[in-house]
Structures are given as structure tokens and as C-alpha cells.
Subunit: 328 residues, 2 copies
């Protein structure tokens, strides 16, 4: 492959999170499925926001969060996603770049507003997301820079992007370019309902361009159409070079054609907000892989990053992950 | 006085805080005076923001924070301040209303952007603020609704507003209206440099319309032009019905013509960010006064509210203050 300039290039929906505490009753009243990501339109975003309590804003977006985590480990990430030239777009661009992520997609000068996700955090620290995609849904193949893709050791894609046709095509374009250049293609399953919506596509990806997959247990079950974990493990083992299955407090599994490695969960403090836990797990794993560390160590770094992010509000690391993991 | 509909009406700069961790070295490099509030123009706001690390956004503004605290105690506050109809203005309006504060000033449809304060939090949890006032500085006497002022038991004004001529006039208009209706006028000294900039005005206020003053030790020293605390206490005792002097970890003092009451500081956890500590102290005190509680209890409520806000990022309460203070 060509000289790699970036350890990982992430592609995803560029989103500012609006995080607010909410009761379980509020979710029920609003007919919102707990733990899930629901796509909403601007009208619903406005009406739901009016019903929510006070919040804080933090830059988010699954793949962007992962890239921020990789930077915090000391890796070299880049990001592709679309914002408007509005205040939230400025916030997203600032936080992403200031966190050490190369992000050169220019902000759009017209079109819908920057995406925001109204995130309801219940007392059990679970997060439930209601996302207005805005301009983020206009990501298209023309936004994929072949030069950037040629510099990627690993491409990391959000499953969420499958919800938008043009973004899906952008992702396929990126995968083709990275494969051509000898890079690795990774994806996160993102959300079990998202898997349901695009099941055939996800199966095809696992049997085609993807080398690495990240999924939690619910996502794996939807993907392989079985609640049996052993069945899921064998399904991915037959199709992918590596699969990282997150099991919450029970840690995670690394599945390769040859072995299954159990990784324990880390815990630093009482869970406050699980937003970004999966994203940061992926950050630790991808950083480790980019440095060619042993798989068990990659998993440990994922557990450390996930544990850090759930102990505070917001989806990106607040502490230096390299230090926290004892890497420096 | 007429039937009061609001326990406290606050007037201040309507600001969204952009909170970022920073080193002491960064403050020195940037020539920023630690602990202070520096007014900056839009150009400096842009260049400083570009140099700062990733942040989170939270609605702020001194008097607005105080009103949010009063609502959290179960009181009935209202707020007057100016935002634009931009995304940060929407955030400010949402958070303020959702926190239980009546806020009916319409967002301006033209003019500068909503105010933002770039807040640098150093490892010792101290906050240093760099504020671009934007549209907030266009608050003027016409924004003061006589009907609202007639409904105020207590008017609470920010010293910060003295930095802008039209806002200063708005405050004087509000004070006149409240006094005419038999209400109480309170003010926070806000910042020692702000006192220096408008020293004669602040002295005149203490000798004229003000009944209550909030000041920390540095602000008191600038106001009375003496570093001696006993001198400061006697100065305010001769001029004001009540003065609340905050002393950080050493608690606070309530000074009246007849007595000086010592209030101990509360502490719930390790300090994370002192932003809003003075604002929340004022919230506890003003709530207590509006409920005609004994002065020592008013001070205790102030200490409880201040202790809650410094244990997390952001200037408004995250926990219910009435519950935390054992009021319900």
C-alpha cells in the first residue's frame, strides 16, 4: 500500500449532541424506544426539544467520537462528515480539530442546519437518542477524497450512514478506494433497528468488503437473526477477519477465524452517561490495531476508553487515554 | 406593594458558556488574567476559540444562572436578557425556560450573534472568562417591561451590565420601577475589574437604590478601596440593608446594620469547575429571602447551591437544590 498518513479515517454523521437528563416515564410518554437511535425530522426535533429539560451541548457523531478517542491515545485520525456553516457546525469543527482529528471537509454554505441529536440520559445512565440529521444526510460520493482514502491504514464507517442513500454510496466509494490501496475496512453496526432497516446490505458487507466489525449483542442478534451468542460468533467467524462483540459490563469478545478472546470490562467510577461507550471501545481497538498491538491488548484499550467515557456526560474522552491506559 | 408574581426578577447578559479545560501556562501565554472576566470582541473570540481545546456548551450568564438556581429551590424567578434568533440563542432560551425560569424577551431578528463566554477551567477548578457580549450588549431601557417589574419581590442585577451604557440605563430604569412598587433591589458586584471600571457608579448605587449587595473579598476590597476585611464590613454596614460577602472555602458573611453572621461553606465532592459558584450562592440567599427565612438559613442555602455547582462542569445546578438542601 501507499505510505499511510492516517492510522484511521472515519466517516459518519457529523452531529452535535444535546444531552439532557430524563425519566423513564418521559420516554414512555413520548413513545421513545429506550437505548435506541430514532431518526426525527426538524419539526419533531423542535417539539421534543421544547419538552426536554435543560441540556448541555457536546460534539458527537459516532465515528467522530471514535476518531477523537484515537487522537487521545496518540494516534493519527482523520474524519469525513458534513456540517453547515452555522454555530453548531462551528462547534463541531472546533471540537473535532482541537481534539487532534484532521477534518478538512468544508462547511456547507446552504442547505439544512448542522445535525443534532437530542439525547435523553435516564437515571440508570442509559442513553436514548433522537437524531435530526440535517445537512449531515447530504454526504455524497463527491465528498470522498481519493487522496485521503489512499492515506488510510484503516477506514472506519458508521452503520448509521446506511439510513441515507447518498451517504451509503459515499461509504461504498470510500470502501472501494481503501481496498484498492490495500487498507482495511471496518464498520460499526451502530444500532439494532438500523440493522433491521438494512439487513441485506449489512450481510452483503460482511461477506464482501468488510474486514472488521464492531457490534453489541443486540446488533449481532439482528444481523445473524439469532439470539444465541454462540451462533452469532460462528456466523461472524466465517465471514470476517475480526469481530469485536461488546457485552456491556460483561466485557467484550474478539472473534477471529482461529480464536475467541475474552476481554474484561474496566470501571473507573459510577456510570453517569453511556453515550459514546461503543464509540470509545472502537477507538481503543482501532488505535491498538493501527499500532499492531496484540489483539488482547487492543481489547483492553477499548475497555479503558469505554470506561472513561461513561463516567461523565458527553461522548468524547475528557482524560488523556494514552496516560489512562498506561501507554505513556 | 402590588401582588408579587415573581420571587426574583434577574437582569443580565444572556450568555452561552463554552467551557474548556486549559493549563495555567496557556493563560500566561495568552496574557489572560486568571479568575477574571475579560470582555473580548468577535475577532478575538474567534482567534482564542481556535487555540482552545475541545469544549462543551452550557447556558450561562450570571443573573440567568442565579434565576435557574432559584427555580431549582422551588422559587418563582423571571429573567430579562437579550439573545439573537440563532442556534445559541435557541439553546439559551430553551435551557432557561426548561429550568423553570420565566423568560419572555423575544429573540432579536437582526444584530450581532448571541453572547458567548469562552471559559478556561484550570486544573485547580478555577474559571477564567473571556466574553464576547454580542447582542446581549444591546439590552436597553425599552426592554424593561414595567408590568414585569411591578411583579418582582426582588430585582437582581449583574454588575457586569455596567460595562455597556444602554444596559446600565436599562438597569437604572428597572431599579426605579421596582423601588416605586415597594420591591427590593439587589446586585452582585460580579468582578473586581468591573468594579474598577465603574467605581463611582457602584459607590453611588450602594448609597442609593441598592438594598442588598453580593461581593467576594476581592470585589469588596476594590469597592471600599481597602484590603482590610473589617474596613469593608463597616463600609457596607453603613450603606446597605444586607451584604453577602463570599470567602470561598472559608464560607461567607452576612452583614446587616445590626449584626455579622458567619456562614460555613458546604462541600459535596472534589471541586471540578467553580463557574457559577457566586451565582448559585446568590440563588440560595435570594430564594431564602423571598421565603422570609432567617438570614443564617438564607446563607446556608447559598452555601449548598454553591457547593453543588462546583462539583461539575457548567454554571447551573444539575441536582434539585430543594432536595439537596433538605427543604423537601
Amino acid at each position: 500500500m501507499s505510505e499511510a498518513s492516517y492510522d484511521v479515517v472515519g466517516i459518519g454523521n457529523a452531529i452535535v449532541d444535546v444531552i439532557s437528563k430524563a425519566s423513564d416515564e418521559f420516554l414512555v410518554e413520548q413513545g421513545i424506544e429506550k437505548h435506541s437511535m430514532t431518526l426525527i425530522d426538524e419539526e419533531r426535533a423542535t417539539s421534543l426539544y421544547a419538552l426536554m429539560g435543560p441540556g448541555i451541548e457536546a460534539s458527537g457523531g459516532s465515528a467522530a467520537n471514535t476518531m477523537a478517542g484515537i487522537a487521545s491515545f496518540g494516534g493519527r485520525p482523520a474524519y469525513v462528515g458534513k456540517v453547515r456553516d452555522d454555530q453548531l457546525g462551528q462547534v463541531f469543527g472546533h471540537d473535532t480539530r482541537a481534539g487532534g482529528v484532521a477534518f478538512d471537509v468544508p462547511a456547507a454554505t446552504d442547505g439544512p442546519a448542522t445535525a443534532r441529536s437530542l439525547i435523553l440520559v435516564t437515571p440508570d445512565a442509559a442513553r436514548t437518542m433522537n437524531t435530526f440529521l440535517g445537512i449531515s444526510s447530504l454526504l455524497e460520493p463527491a465528498d470522498i477524497d481519493p487522496e485521503l482514502m489512499a492515506k488510510a491504514k484503516i477506514l472506519f464507517c458508521e452503520g448509521y450512514l446506511w439510513d441515507v442513500e447518498s451517504a451509503k454510496q459515499a461509504m461504498r466509494t470510500a470502501m472501494d478506494l481503501v481496498k484498492t490501496n490495500g487498507g482495511t475496512c471496518a464498520m460499526t453496526a451502530s444500532d439494532s433497528f438500523c440493522i433491521d432497516r438494512h439487513h441485506a446490505d449489512f450481510v452483503e458487507l460482511c461477506e464482501g468488503p468488510l474486514d472488521l466489525l464492531f457490534a453489541n449483542r443486540a446488533e449481532l442478534a439482528r444481523l445473524v437473526e439469532s439470539d444465541d451468542l454462540a451462533t452469532g460468533i460462528e456466523w461472524v467467524r466465517e465471514r470476517l477477519a475480526m469481530t469485536f462483540i461488546t457485552l456491556g459490563k460483561e466485557g467484550s469478545l474478539v472473534v477471529t477465524p482461529d480464536e475467541t478472546i475474552e476481554i474484561v470490562a474496566e470501571e473507573f467510577g459510577a456510570p453517569v452517561d453511556t453515550t459514546g461507550a461503543g464509540d470509545q471501545y472502537a477507538a481503543g481497538v482501532l488505535y491498538g490495531l493501527s499500532q499492531e498491538l496484540p489483539l488482547a491488548e487492543c481489547g483492553r484499550l477499548g475497555s479503558v476508553a469505554a470506561a472513561e467515557v461513561i463516567e461523565h456526560l458527553g461522548p468524547r474522552p475528557e482524560r488523556n487515554l494514552a496516560e489512562l491506559a498506561g501507554l505513556r
